[in-house]
Symmetry: C2
Amino acid sequence: MVYALRHFPGDLYPINPKADEILGFKVYPSLTAIDGSADLVILTVPAKGCASVLVEAGENGAGAALIISGGFGETGGEGKTVQDEILSVCRRYGIRLLGPNTAGFGNPKAGVSANFTPWIGQLKAGSIGVVSQSGAMNLILASLIHSRQLGISLATGIGNGADVGVADVVEYLADDPDTKVIALYLEGVREGRRLYEAVRHATEKKPVIVFPVGEADIGDFAISHTGNLMGSFALKKAALIQAGAVVVSSSNDLADAANLLSKVRLKAHPDPGVGLLTGQAGPGMVIADYLRSHSVRLPELGPSTVERISRLIPPMTFIRNPVDTGRPSPTFRDVMLAMAEDPVIDVLVTFAIHEPAVIDPVALFGEIKEKIRHPLVFGTAGFPEDVLPTQEGLEANNVASYVSPDRTARATRALIEDAKAAYRKEQRDKEGPGDLIPVDPIEKAPDEASAKSILEKLGIRTPSRVVCRSHQEAKKGFVELGPPCVLKILARGITHKTDVGGVYLNIRTEEELLSGLAEIDKIETTGEKRYLVEEMASEGLEMMIGAKNDSSFGPTVLIGLGGTEAEALNDVAMRLAPLSLFDAREMIGELKSSVLFDGWRGGPMYSKEELAETLVKIGGLISGHPEIKEMDLNPVRVYERGLTVLDAVIICN
Amino acid sequence: MVYALRHFPGDLYPINPKADEILGFKVYPSLTAIDGSADLVILTVPAKGCASVLVEAGENGAGAALIISGGFGETGGEGKTVQDEILSVCRRYGIRLLGPNTAGFGNPKAGVSANFTPWIGQLKAGSIGVVSQSGAMNLILASLIHSRQLGISLATGIGNGADVGVADVVEYLADDPDTKVIALYLEGVREGRRLYEAVRHATEKKPVIVFPVGEADIGDFAISHTGNLMGSFALKKAALIQAGAVVVSSSNDLADAANLLSKVRLKAHPDPGVGLLTGQAGPGMVIADYLRSHSVRLPELGPSTVERISRLIPPMTFIRNPVDTGRPSPTFRDVMLAMAEDPVIDVLVTFAIHEPAVIDPVALFGEIKEKIRHPLVFGTAGFPEDVLPTQEGLEANNVASYVSPDRTARATRALIEDAKAAYRKEQRDKEGPGDLIPVDPIEKAPDEASAKSILEKLGIRTPSRVVCRSHQEAKKGFVELGPPCVLKILARGITHKTDVGGVYLNIRTEEELLSGLAEIDKIETTGEKRYLVEEMASEGLEMMIGAKNDSSFGPTVLIGLGGTEAEALNDVAMRLAPLSLFDAREMIGELKSSVLFDGWRGGPMYSKEELAETLVKIGGLISGHPEIKEMDLNPVRVYERGLTVLDAVIICN
């Protein structure tokens, strides 16, 4: 650690009772021996020795501490107690703590490499802020950024995050004027809601790009690593996107996206248009294919642009967008301008293989940048040693470049995702989130009939029904509602009614009713058993709505295609609640099965709007009732107009 | 081109009627003026001038030609005629033609850089064979391989592929002793079946890795590029995997996978076990998460291995697999050996950040390689200039290394996919493909009843039925079959019977029958209208089976979850036919919805076996009947035992 910090421009006090000198620095026997208060105390002593050092630090008036050592919360049991102990010392003295169990952090501009891996000291100062739960991933991301000739503003490994967590650093970087983009590596999230809020506020000011892991079951390993549970990957990802972050799926993609987004950012836009100009068709195909299959639009150029370009390049080329000039000629520049001036284009991506004889990208972009206000992305290919001077020249002009069509495409996608996320946030904020909906106190374990009554209070339609205590009442109910009816068991503890033979559909005669009642009477229950007689709903599209108060992310809402078989395909969309109507519409649109609403295969249209309104109501309910653990409306039958909730389960804490 | 070829070790004859000398080479006025026969004639003249030059080449006795120029088939119309013309000249003289419309090829070992981009001449000779439809992607792949300090055996751009196509080069590389792995970039495929066979044979000898594009709709651009239609991306991908290729999704992944697979290959294995040893938990999580979420197994180590490792590393670490040693110590080597010696491990992946003070990977792998026969993969992170010597040292030991956890994981996955594909091929070959099934000649446009009769000849169950020409016959049929019945319209040209109101389910009374008949009578048809009365099938799991004779890939079979709603989710699996039973079982297993067969949510089990047998039969039928354009069995109702095809459409050419 002393070696890593040897060039620190301020005062450095190595402390060790057994040494006089380390690497030429005078060594102090204890914190009490140093002059004045330390800004930061770094602990590389074993877990059990940390508390007493922190007390010394507190007495010294130190502002912050970094604990490198492991052996705390991540080991469970006793380690957890030690972690609680050091945290309480820190709280007592007002010390902010990074770690324990982290390699540390680096701030090149300030000359601080408080990290046990010495090469963090060689990082260049720049505009990318890195936050990582894992100390090693912090180093890896920093090195990938450095490999791209880019600099960092801060690179922080969180470790166990006993005090300073990911959300704190995101909040800090959001306000840090040296940071233009935040790059975040994320494992399990303990305080998801706080992170969501931190990212949401940060993206108002600068892009946040996240590489989350945990898609597969790596939970045990994750706990052993930083003591954090992994939680639901799908929920984590949905929450980050909802907060306005761009989610990527590798550390290389994270570094590439951070490169572009540290240089340019699009204004909020529902669906920006990318213009793609390529000197070679093959890489143009690779880029266009990637972008289109990831919902990025390459709009067809206007007729006047096509006309203008057709006068600039040979007749055999493709000019609708992508524009394939064939091997670049001196008109390449004019084609770029023509594309950029077409109003359908918001971003201009240019690809050209390294061929100094036919194209000089540094000169080209140097000139073009003055004429075009759109974000520019440049992709190329060639030997690293040949391409590097071009990349450095472009970097000096603040133009991001990538040595492969794939990387060009992935970074471009991140730029577009950021603008789309900003648009969604704008729309949501314009509308405001749905209100929290407090209804009467909810009983501890509402049965289906009570659950449906709660929904009715929100104005959500459920079938007409009669709750019956006897066969006699059921017969009366049947007559009241008229055939066809549905007969269901009503008993606490039985939520999967179909599985126990407790549901009878399409009852048309009293005989059928009695036979159903007889079957239900055979089911064993612990408490009182009643019968639910309901009107039979007509056919429609079956969806499901779920909601829960997640231990990390708080109130959340989920929608998916209903029915057992569809559930196996796991076509769902999630959001943190409360929702705006805009969110709810987006959730429905996100589903693969959303095509079913719009006359799929000549079928009927189904009302998305009423479904969206129902989602907003459920979001309000779950947000207003922390005592609800989870709820499940399945199926929700959607019609051309309106919908009916056929079954509802509410489980309280 | 002369510049690119200036170091060619054989005789080079520049030909141009207007020049005496190019770059110091004597220039000849025409092909007739050179001594002897040319091995290769390279044409850089306009499209219309090519035919006469090829005639000269033919008279000269030239063996092969390369046409760089564009303006042929890719432009449609007249260009296509010119392409046919040059092809017929080549055929007449027995000249093999590369191109037209390609940048050319390079063979570093032979010193041939027949490519208009001069830097192809700087490529190192090595063991990776590159094939690309796009000339530019050929260059890009070669440069990405070169950037990884690796060499190529051959790098070929196919262009329009008028004569020599992708399949030809794959066949050549399969037998080329210098080539250890084939890396292929693929757009549209004209002769899919031939490519399938070429890849299938090649993978017997060496790995084939493919990066296909065309997931999004980029068809128009593709045609303008090489004149090839894109076809179905899903089918192309399925066929390549069936042929034993590893399919990747970027050019960087292609280069990284080629690196590893040029060095090591696993034996055929149904599901190889990866051991992951990491010096840092974070990157270990990234690798484990990627592998697990892409169906790569990290098996738990045996108790004796765990016991052995626990004596080697500190107690706070995770040792079940991944094994996280914490910062590498001198015992790292022994942990590697312990893991490799566990019988559950087939591949050992090691990750350690670049820290020369604690680990020397070159020395470590140099020693370990002698002791371990398993394939080894090394991942690291650090500044490129620091890491390069390590990578070169490992390369000299034939160990592939990657500078990031993601790239390490992706390359490892490719290694595993190759072994799994080889296993599937072994199983299929052991069993042999299903027989072609020729039944009686199939009438031009079979109606539902005829289509079902064809299925019955194959022993596939369909509902009992009566074809009726009158209400009277229908009433008789209804009595014969007994309630409940299904009534359907039977008329040529009406395939979507439900959409026109031509299907009535669950008919229980003669009254209901007559009302259905009356409705059917209202439907307008062009030809004869008949009625189909069928027994009503009981409830079960609805699947669909499709088959077609694809214009590029020939006979193919598809399976998916049945029902309109499920179709929107597009959960399907495809194979080229004929199929073995092994293939058919795999297809079912590939579906997300395959969980529905195994008692999903406490539901019944459904017979996969009979469904697999049906797939094999349909594969045999479509293979034995090229006159069938496509067929659609939807729904196929699957039961705990057996299945019934409820509707069948066969469309002939």
